[in-house]
């Protein structure tokens, strides 16, 4: 499938002038809504992760009438709960030279110069308030003996700016947001609708005016109208079927908003995490992340000889290839995520992978145990070793771990301007669901920061500027009935096909295809192949899918089928985007665009832009709108980790 060129995006609503004061000036210029008028304004917030939970709670505190939705049985279970490592903030508590400017700079560079300076600077500024806010809520961050907060360095950062709560940072931050939300639910400013899935966006007179949802328990389809709609529905990594995301993570909310007119930006930017537990068989339902911190002491290697199937302990030193140390002598095992992932794939593709199917590399702690002693290694990584052993039945103190890269995060998402507005007026998108701050690659511990920045501080400060024109009056019955019947038709169709394949089997097939052809490495040939196969898989889905039961009950197969249907459409746009971007940057590696040493070659002359795609119909060529990126504060340079 090809695409068409559209007009460039003219306005991102970012104030001009000095970078350091843009946010302050924007906040000051944003109109306010009189407190007495706020309760007359309804805001729908879909999603209760860090972004949606914090936004709904804060908008409730401000006095808006908030409706909150999630598909889990409780807002506390959103996927953010699973984040392990930590959250960045430019507090400089470690006194090691961190600053807002440094965090800004690292994030722009980490994003491989494909993000917007204004947004990233604001993110770095706001980061410090997040920590204050969370501590006030009682988030139990790790502390030193003196009672002050502890920080660590994460993902190759040169400063210690990552705050953490053992290996459960996401859980503790989410519980903080959930508790703030619970307080507002109790106060009556927020109404919570768990086990409710958004299936369409209501657009009337050019504005986003509500959502069509399905009650997952009764199957009832209904519409909730509002003056503004906020999507905080997370990332779409599950388009690959296997990923570190929770099983229910999906693209439905943002994809259906895209089909209603919201532009989708940089869909091909996906992050692959190098240290996950390898797939153990066809039954595999998800992948488990092992913390990146393991690479601080573990050494990555594979046998020198392809097909060497001796147990690792019997492979002598000189027949092992510590390939990261060999290829990147100065960073060694600590090279960034994308480089470590690609190197693992390369050695496995060369037949040197280990474990079932040859899709794994060793992460060996033998040297660390000898150097530090078993007790110190246990103190650092004991819980991770235990988790590994529980899943694989192998003892990492005795046998090296086996790891393999897995899909982890999606940098792409709905396009938003500086005020987090999508291209449909009244539609706001926050957290992983938008594309805004991470460019082509996200730094470790920065997703939690972005989700909470958007939800606690940015959205509440700018949404008033839009709502100041409201309430927007009644919504025409046509817009509602059109959206509702579209949803009903979809449900009816899915239930009536009565084919011979489960939704799961299509998801698995799509995932494999995407992983092979639009995963860690993308080539023109492979992407053409994918673009050939996706439409026929989609056609087969609508012919052969089997969904049992009815629409008027709890029906998990039906939920799954709807999500897979959307993944089958999104996958095609991801491949179109990946094919058109003939450079390599961040999480997007095109085999045609590499240096003689196999490193990524970015092409700033042709690709220093955000690719924002407009939907024109399923299987129809989308329209590409460019948002040109300008770098005033940081000059694009080439990353080098040699």
């Amino acid at each position: 499938m090809s695409y068409r060129e559209g007009d460039p995006i003219a306005d991102t609503r970012a104030p001009a002038g000095p970078l350091e004061t843009r946010w302050e000036r924007r906040r000051f210029a944003a109109r306010l809504v009189n407190p007495a008028n706020r309760r007359k304004l309804t805001v729908v917030v879909v999603g209760t992760g860090l972004a949606g939970g914090s936004a709904a709670a804060t908008l409730g505190e401000l006095g808006y009438n908030v409706l909150s939705f999630c598909y889990q049985d409780s807002p506390r279970r959103a996927h953010s709960i699973a984040a392990q490592g930590g959250i960045n903030a430019a507090k400089n508590y470690a006194g090691d030279g961190d600053s807002v400017h440094r965090l800004f700079h690292d994030t722009i560079k980490g994003g491989d110069f494909r993000s917007r300076e204004s947004n990233v600077h604001r993110l770095a500024e706001v980061s410090t308030s997040i920590i204050d806010q969370c501590v006030a809520q009682g988030v139990p961050f790790a502390r030193e003996y003196g009672g002050l907060l502890d920080t660590r360095s994460f993902g190759g950062a040169q400063v210690s700016r990552t705050f953490y709560a053992r290996g459960q940072t996401g859980q503790q931050l989410l519980l903080g947001a959930y508790q703030a939300l619970a307080r507002q639910i109790h106060a009556g400013t927020v109404r919570s609708h768990p086990r409710t899935e958004m299936l369409d966006l209501v657009v009337a007179d050019g504005r986003a005016r509500g959502v069509v949802v399905r009650d997952l328990v009764t199957g009832e389809i209904s519409t909730h109208l509002a003056d503004a709609v906020v999507l905080a529905t997370g990332g779409y990594g599950n388009v690959f079927h296997l990923s570190t995301n929770a099983k229910g993570c999906n693209t439905t909310a943002i994809w259906r908003a895209h089909k209603r007119g919201a532009l989708f930006a940089n869909p091909c930017y996906t992050q692959i995490h190098p240290t996950c537990i390898p797939v153990s068989g066809d039954h595999q339902s998800k992948l488990t992340l092992m913390s990146e911190s393991l690479r601080n002491d573990g050494r990555v290697w594979v046998p020198v000889q392809a097909g060497d199937d001796r147990p690792p302990n019997r492979i002598p030193e000189d027949e092992r290839d510590y390939y990261l140390e060999r290829m990147y002598p100065s960073f060694g095992n600590l090279v960034p995520r994308d480089i470590a992932s690609r190197a693992a794939k390369a050695v496995c593709d060369a037949g040197r992978g280990v474990g079932p199917g040859g899709l794994g590399v060793y992460l060996d702690f033998a040297d660390a145990i000898e150097r530090l002693g078993r007790a110190s290694v246990a103190a650092r990584y004991g819980n991770l070793f235990e988790m590994y052993q529980r899943i694989t039945d192998e003892d990492p103190y005795q046998v090296p771990m086996r790891i393999y890269p897995a899909v982890h995060y999606t940098m792409g998402g709905l396009w938003v301007d500086y005020d987090l507005r999508a291209t449909i007026p009244g539609l706001f998108v926050i957290g992983e669901a938008n594309f805004s701050d991470h460019g082509a690659n996200r730094l470790g511990a920065s997703a939690l920061m972005q989700g909470l920045a958007d939800g606690y501080f940015v959205l509440p400060a700018v949404i008033g500027d839009y709502l100041a024109d409201g309430p927007f009056g009644p919504v025409g019955a046509d817009a509602v009935s059109e959206a509702e019947s579209a949803v009903r038709d979809l449900v009816t169709t899915l239930l009536s096909i009565d084919g011979d394949r489960t939704p799961e089997s299509f998801h698995r097939e799509l995932g494999r295809l995407m992983w092979d052809l639009c995963g860690m490495e993308r080539s023109e040939e492979g992407l053409h192949k994918a673009l050939d196969r996706i439409p026929s898989l989609r056609e087969e889905f609508w012919r052969r899918v089997k969904v049992t039961g009815s629409g008027a009950e709890l029906n998990q197969a039906l939920e799954k089928a709807g999500r897979v249907a959307d993944f089958l459409e999104l996958a095609e746009l991801m491949c179109v985007d990946a094919l058109h971007r003939t450079e390599s940057c961040g999480g997007h590696f095109r085999v045609e665009s590499q240096t003689a040493d196999g490193d990524a070659r970015r092409d700033d002359d042709h690709f220093a832009y955000v690719a924002a795609w407009e939907f024109t119909g399923v299987g129809e060529p989308p329209v590409l709108h460019h948002e040109h990126l300008r770098f005033e504060a940081v000059r694009p340079t080439v990353r080098s980790y040699k």
């Binding site: 049985d73 307080r183 109790h186 929770a246």
Partner: protein, 248 residues
């Protein structure tokens, strides 16, 4: 390997349910318990039958969505483990596995193994938070927290809200869940101003919702996947008493 399952099937909240026997082939020791159920569900769907409904999301022991009774034990065999963290190598193929939903009056069955645990959200809404407004916080270092207090808070904050404690309790009490939250917040200096009223309102709310009274049988902590200790309940009882004495 081949396993025999006896699974609770119930089509809706008011329907009567029963145990139905299934055989599942091609199970490998590396499969997780939920992946084994996935295999069963694929087969049921292809045969035109309704798959077994069960709650799950993260599948790594942190979201608290999963949870069933396996052979009468909440979250099944294995210490400090959620249902999703079990692997088939822990089960003997020679013995049938009985799988049932949580059973407690405030947790009505929704379908098959899925129950409605929203009563736990109501308990938190009654006071399981520190009342602070976004943007009003002082610098995080303005308030040091002694390490032992921080550790106590953290240990209790690890609760994932799965409800296993309620399911395991002969009285259907949610005391361990509630105590985990009051201990988390009550151990921190930030949580002091509301400490006693919080304890009182949360306990009153759980009573109103129909959770049973706590007689310290300890069944809860034995199945708790996060090892929330019984000492949190002692702390909660102390706080409730103090609230009564102070008239909070």
């Amino acid at each position: 390997m081949k396993y025999t399952l006896r699974v609770w099937r119930q089509t809706g909240p008011t329907a009567t349910g029963s145990l139905v026997e299934y055989e599942v082939d091609d199970v490998t020791p590396d499969m997780s318990f939920l992946e084994m159920l996935d295999v069963l569900n694929e087969r049921l769907q292809l045969a035109g039958d309704a798959p077994v409904a069960f709650d799950h999301d993260c599948r790594e022991g942190i979201c608290g969505a999963c949870g069933v009774m396996i052979d009468g034990v909440a979250h099944g065999p294995g210490k400090a483990t959620t249902t999703c963290q079990l692997h088939m190598r822990q089960f003997d193929p020679a013995r049938p596995i009985v799988i049932e939903p949580w059973r407690a009056a405030p947790f009505p069955v929704v379908r098959d193994l899925v129950v409605d645990r929203s009563a736990l959200d109501r308990v938190i809404e009654a006071g399981g938070y520190i009342s602070t407004r976004t943007g009003a916080a002082p610098d995080a270092h303005a308030l040091p927290v002694a390490k032992p207090d921080a550790d106590t808070a953290f240990e209790a904050a690890a609760c994932i809200g799965c409800g296993a404690c309620v399911a395991a309790c002969p009285n259907g009490s949610s005391m361990l869940f509630t105590a985990a939250k009051t201990t988390h917040l009550g151990a921190l200096p930030q949580g002091q101003p509301e400490r006693f009223t919080r304890a009182r309102t949360m306990v009153e709310t759980q009573d109103d919702l129909g959770f049973g009274g706590c007689t310290l049988t300890g069944e809860c902590t034995a199945v708790c996947p996060k090892g929330i200790p019984l000492s949190t309940i002692a702390r909660l009882n102390h706080d409730v008493l103090t609230a009564a004495m102070r008239g909070d």
